[in-house]
Symmetry: C2
Subunit: 416 residues, 2 copies
């Protein structure tokens, strides 16, 4: 079987100017990967005729599938539709059914179509429209000598709907691809170079069908194993064997694989042990709660959280002693201990965790500079604490605090 290659083109000065983060091509990449379609290259170009036409041409030379996002809005700065019409030498036609559908949807919201909206029902004759349930710009599908061009809006929810409702199902019918299997093995608390040193012999003896990559992040290093070929069953077995070896070599640092994140792993451990958790967070201000509740089904083990930003609330609502805060300060071991123990009791949870620190950019002092963070974990028997000195910006310090405390929770639960 031949490989099927794709190239992604994102259109928009806002991406090149650093005003919009391109999450679309990230989403599309992951979806194509699941189908065994290989994204060979991604290109972002500006909303300019020449740059866009050149990108269309280069992509057609490089790939079988070309997916374009952006530049489909109703306004004058949106060039994708007229340029694709030019590229495919196609006149425009009005789609009455699309116009009628737009009119109905607008009527439901007590709005009337204006000239700009009406123009959105006009499309190049040579394309098949792709339905857009969440917006007014239809997508476009062009076939050209076995190659496919897809154009979708840049608004993420509209693009996602088109991918899931139309593009992916049609790709599944149209393209038969070789097997491509990834396994992501996720570690926390060990630096990349030490991990690589521990795994040197193993890496040198990997079967030739398997490729390895190290992906380092904030306190975490992920390892990606990729196998490709024709025999799915054999490749899966090969990968599983190598993952088993990894667990034997560095198992204590591995918190999960594939879709697991630290918070979902903790969810699994809590469910297995029939335990619940509650959170009292000061410097992380809701971030830990947000991570823990981002996973579906979290209500089974997450009791709730409180972020008492003001010291009065740490005392009046959460019940930290006034003397503790006056004597040691809000950012102190004593305060996080009481926060973790009180939230555990108050929220009726088995485990209480807490954070207090200086996230920055303001609020630092000589004794407690920006990045100083205390965390605690109370399980009713003992209360553990940790002190960190992070050196990131406000967002980085908040994220490192959350990841570090979640790792402490993971280690504690794993040993129970």
């Amino acid at each position: 079987m031949n490989n099927i290659y794709a190239e992604l083109i994102s259109i928009g000065d806002e991406i090149l100017y650093g005003q919009t983060l391109d999450t679309n091509s990230h989403f599309i990449s992951a979806e194509l990967d699941k189908l065994g379609i290989r994204v060979k290259r991604k290109v972002t170009v500006s909303d300019e005729r020449e740059a866009m036409m050149r990108a269309f041409e280069e992509a057609e030379n490089n790939a079988d599938i070309i997916i374009i996002t952006g530049g489909l809005g109703p306004t004058k700065d949106d060039l994708t539709k007229p340029l694709l019409a030019e590229y495919f030498d196609s006149s425009m036609i009005l789609h009455e059914d699309i116009l009628e559908d737009l009119r109905e949807r607008f009527a439901k919201r007590d709005r009337e179509l204006n000239e700009l909206n009406r123009g959105q029902a006009e499309l190049p004759e040579k394309c098949t429209p792709i339905e857009n349930k969440y917006g007014t710009a239809p997508g476009m599908w062009f076939d050209k000598e076995g190659k496919v061009f897809i154009s979708m809006p840049g608004v993420p929810s509209e693009m996602k709907y088109m991918m899931e409702d139309t593009v992916i199902p049609r790709f599944k019918e149209k393209f038969k691809t070789p097997v491509l299997i990834h396994k992501m093995v996720k570690t926390v608390g060990i630096p990349e170079s030490i991990l690589a040193e521990k795994l040197e012999d193993w890496e040198n003896n990997l079967p030739s069908e398997i490729k390895l990559a190290y992906l380092p992040g904030l306190k975490q290093v992920k390892m990606r194993l990729t196998a490709s070929g024709d025999e799915e069953k054999r490749l899966k077995k090969l990968i599983d064997q190598e993952v088993d070896k990894l667990y034997k070599l560095v198992g204590k640092y591995i918190y999960g694989t594939d879709e697991n994140n630290l918070a979902s792993k903790i969810g699994e451990l809590l469910l297995e042990r029939k335990l619940t958790i509650a959170v009292a967070e000061s410097c992380t201000g809701g971030h830990l709660a947000h991570l823990l509740t981002s996973n579906a089904g979290s209500s089974a083990y997450y009791r709730g959280g409180i972020n008492p930003y003001h010291n009065n609330l740490k005392m009046d609502v959460l019940g930290v002693k006034k003397e503790t805060i006056e004597k040691y300060g809000a950012v102190s071991e004593q305060t996080v201990i009481e926060m973790a123990e009180r939230v555990r009791e108050l929220f009726g949870a088995d485990i209480g965790i807490s954070t207090s620190g200086v996230a920055g950019p303001g609020g630092g002092s000589k004794e407690k500079p920006v990045g100083t963070v205390w965390v605690a974990l109370a399980d009713g028997k003992e209360t553990q604490t940790k002190l960190y000195h992070f050196q990131f910006d406000r967002h980085g310090n908040i994220e490192m605090t959350s990841n570090s405390l979640l790792n402490l929770v993971r280690q504690t639960l794993s040993s129970k």
Copy 2:
């Protein structure tokens, strides 16, 4: 003055496979834009010799500045350093000072250098090393016939440090660029096509130096005005005049400009009016608190938040009446009213806000399907409520709930 053009190259299969979101090129774009350097194109290629060498060559033909991120780790899958040595036909030399620095930093953490770490002190002879305070791989700066190649690690914190500490200061010295001024005007609660219709006459009469773009998002539409030329003062005045006109035409939808986000705008309004806010969130599970506390200085107006996931906590800790939850359910107008009023009192804030809904994917019913969300705002005089029916995934529903409620807070504060 001539324009200075840049091209960004991100290296890594993990980006093409959709496993890692490329935030590096976003950050670099924004920094170059501030310097008046125009990013013409961004390309992401795989960790493969041929793709990388071709990207280096194309970028050298297209741009004055080529910035490469990724592929600099100590492990075998990292190819950027050997390939740049080959591209510049340069042998490798050991930098004793870098090695010594690595040794010292490792000693502080009671670790010894291994072979992989030692290799990181070897660099192509033709490059100037760029210091990496947060990691072990130095960056590289190559000069070639007036053009500049920069190579930095893919770990965001390491790349950011190099940009801020070395790259940006040197670019400021080396490149003189024409003036490029952006102004972002941010609206909420009005669809793009209606906004464009209201602004049609204004847009047709924009001065020729100013370019307009509409950037739609979740419940928000941003408008970017860009002016370029030589006379900074005149261009700034031109842009200011057009922004004034925008406020006259669609001012009630505009919540801010440039760096403002909805939460920071609310922070400003609260500070001006000397008011404080507290949050009781169920379905948003900490996300609203996280948004409000992500902005520096938020402790001046943010009292705190609670996310009582379990109904018992809504009653026992927050004080929602048992009868209310039993009669109307947790996702109801009556419950969010009590949540907003109780958190306002309990946390001693001027304004209390609350959310309760079905974020999904589970938990929906016929009467209250996934996406059903109630929010409330209590200010001590009256309590407003809103009901929404969102149709996004769990993350989208959480984000839309937060943005919608923040807009209600903005509107309420603006009328005070």
